[in-house]
């Protein structure tokens, strides 16, 4: 079991013990336990540990439930030595009468045991004690990747006195005092204590709200004390660092001399300084150094059934124009394929393993399924700069896949998607762990062109196979056709090859801002055209393309 699986299991099992498991988490736990005997062993260790912590019967052995009294009570008024003649209800009532007494005795005994094993006597009352409330948590990430280790899950703990090297993306850390630090790659940071972090290299934006005054950031040679502010710090390779105070106050001092040798310098709003130990020089203030939030992105998603075959999207979390939205899948605007053209040697169709290849129409009509779709569409290195050639639709656009015209995949939304601020469309792709973690690059273009429109190339997805929370999809089978036909329902006759990959695929996702394609805010968009970016041997495997509804305050996540 790798470290990340173990951490994930610990988190899920802890939630199970405290009865906090969501439906999706139960599904995930089912999957992990079904998947690997090692996971099951770990589960059993964990639960056995908890059974002892929660045991009403306690230790040592011998001081246990008085079964004799119980059985005597159960057997009365007669004990034939065989099956009692009373009803189950009566029996249960008798047990219910017995249970509190036994548990009370046992619990008292357990308390004594706990105190005995303690190093010293502890109080018997609940005490107000926040000494242990020291956890620093990862609260969000965007394309973040750590050197040589997986990112903790969102909400997971960041360990103290341990160096974290962020090699790509951004992440947000939350401290017990309420301070939030956004770390940008490449960076090396270490949490020293609940009120202090060290930025050994790289860039960090810090927000210290009321209650977090006094939070410290150490660079290799300087200390910055936040007095309630928003500031950014950028530590260069040579030890130089730059501080930009966007709001509030901060004090900067040197770490390279004797304590108190130098007086801290106070910086206020719009002050900026280059620091190298006691050498401190004012520089021009740049407000854009400070990052107030992570960029718009697909934050996460949940599915109805992550196991077996069909994996159906149930919810989507996305940041649009700085606001976080949570959508139920049925609020999203579905799409259908109207054009598909691809090289003939690739598998073209991805179906769930249990789908009926004799009825491709029904198999492809799966609603919100993450592991069904037309994959490996053709493409080119250069993106389109004009309308794609869509092959004739044979009179039934929804049911027709054409195999001439421009290489790529054309989709039409089931109702128009209106361009709003931030991301408007979400694309899911399936990717295995032996493929490019960032996702397969693709071009996205307008389906219908007008002046001012353009294509955009997506190189890196918001959620990659390295992102916490990406979900493995159910088993799939791939179909390759001998020749392309006009109508989907007749493709069976030319089916050349079916392949059921043994490896696991994960649903990764990225958002698309229609403004990037040149659309104006408020424009209604009927469809889009996608092409593989032809940047490597593998082609991209889109399975689900959804439009987002127009934003309204009611959708926003509290």
């Amino acid at each position: 079991m790798n470290n990340s699986t173990r951490k994930r299991l610990e988190s899920l099992l802890s939630a199970r013990i405290d009865d906090e498991l969501s439906e999706d988490q139960v599904d995930e736990l089912n999957f992990l336990l079904r998947d690997d005997p090692e996971n099951r062993r770990f589960y059993l260790w964990y639960m056995d540990l908890q059974s002892r912590l929660a045991s009403p019967t306690g230790e040592p052995r011998g001081e246990t439930i008085d079964w004799r009294s119980v059985m005597t009570e159960l057997a009365s008024p007669h004990d034939p030595g065989g099956i009692p003649q009373r009803s189950r209800g009566e029996f249960s009532r008798r047990l219910a009468k017995w249970t509190p007494w036994v548990l009370a005795v046992a619990s008292v005994f357990c308390l004594i045991v706990f105190d005995l094993v303690g190093r010293k006597s502890t109080t018997q009352r609940i005490v107000t004690d926040t000494r242990d409330d020291r956890s620093v948590r990862l609260v969000s990430s965007a394309g973040a990747e750590l050197f040589n280790e997986r990112l903790p899950p969102i909400g997971g703990m960041i360990e103290y006195d341990r160096e974290y090297t962020l090699v790509s993306g951004l992440l947000t850390l939350e401290f017990p005092c309420g301070a939030e630090a956004i770390v940008e790659a490449p960076s090396i940071v270490e949490i020293v204590d609940p009120m202090r972090m060290m930025v050994k290299a790289g860039k960090c934006s810090l927000y210290a709200p009321e209650g977090a005054e006094g939070f410290q950031i150490d660079t290799p040679v300087n200390r910055i004390i936040d007095r309630g502010t928003r500031l950014s710090i950028n530590v260069h390779d040579d030890g130089d660092s730059e501080i930009q105070v966007v709001e509030g106050f901060a004090e900067v001092g040197s770490l390279d001399g004797e304590p108190n040798q130098t007086t801290p310098i106070r910086l206020s709003e719009r002050d900026a300084m280059r620091l190298n130990g006691s050498a401190m020089n004012k520089i021009r203030f740049r407000s854009d150094d400070y990052l107030a939030m992570l960029p718009d992105r697909v934050i996460g998603y949940r599915v109805q059934t992550p196991t077996l075959t069909k994996t159906v999207l149930s919810e989507l979390d996305i940041q649009r124009d700085g606001q976080i939205f949570q959508y139920n899948a049925d609020e999203l605007i579905t799409s259908h394929t109207i054009h598909f053209n691809a090289p003939g040697d690739k598998f073209s169709l991805c179906l769930t393993a249990d789908s009926d290849k004799k009825d491709l129409g029904a198999s492809m009509d799966s609603h919100l399924v993450l592991n069904t779709g037309w994959i490996n569409p053709g493409g080119s290195k250069e993106s389109l700069n004009g309308a794609p050639e869509i092959a004739p639709s044979n009179g039934s656009p929804k049911k027709t896949i054409s195999h001439s015209g421009t290489m790529g995949l054309g989709i039409r939304f089931d109702r128009p998607v209106r361009n709003g601020p931030g991301q408007d469309v979400v694309l899911f792709e399936i990717q295995s762990l032996i493929e490019r973690p960032e996702g397969d690059a693709f071009h996205v273009s307008p389906l219908e062109w007008k002046a001012g429109l353009r294509s955009r190339t997506v190189q890196t997805y918001d959620l990659t196979t390295k992102s916490p929370g990406v979900i493995p999809v159910g088993r799939i089978k791939l179909i390759r056709f001998e020749s392309y036909l006009q109508n989907r329902r007749t493709q069976l006759a030319t089916s050349l090859d079916t392949y059921a990959p043994a490896r696991t695929f994960y649903a990764i996702a990225t958002g698309i801002d229609l403004s990037d394609l040149g659309y104006d805010i408020g424009d209604a968009v009927d469809g889009l055209f996608f092409q593989d970016a032809s940047d490597n041997e593998t082609q991209f495997d889109p399975t689900l393309i959804l439009g987002l509804p127009e934003t309204s305050d009611g959708d926003r996540q509290p």
Binding site: L44, W45, R52, A54, I65, G82, D132, D133
Partner: protein, 175 residues
Amino acid sequence: MLSSKSERLVELLSQHHDSLYRYIFSLVGNAHDARDVLQETSFALYEKWGQFDGSRPFLPWAYKFAYIHVLKWRAARAKQCPTLDADVIELLAVEREREESELTARLTVLERCLSQLPDGDRELVRDRYLRGVATDDLVDHRQTSRRTLFRDLQRVRHVLLNCIEHKLQQDPELA
């Protein structure tokens, strides 16, 4: 006065109740439900005691009844909230019987690890799981958030697991 056969059941339950409780707990995941299932299981054992073959070990026989009652519990619970699938519970039950001796060895080591817990952690575990203090009450009294509380409980278990593994690595004969 119990019959001699029932006396034997009392003796075996007294001897093995801890294993039976742990077995049930591992499949249902919380103390309250584990106690209920143990109660139902003891009823079934009493009912079927006449069928027990005294020449065979008691625990595997008792586990079968416990397993059936765990599945009944699961069926009832699944109507109210999501829980582990039945096939997963079956896999766990099979695995647990295989792992019985190792689990017991680990628990022996746990006693040493418990004694090394900081007072605050031990008190937290005691309040939550032995005294059964409600989560909201603990949150109020500790002036913390639910999330932090659960995270602290998870951290304590993490520390104990690591301690057990460390001790077993240091002294493999314990396993």
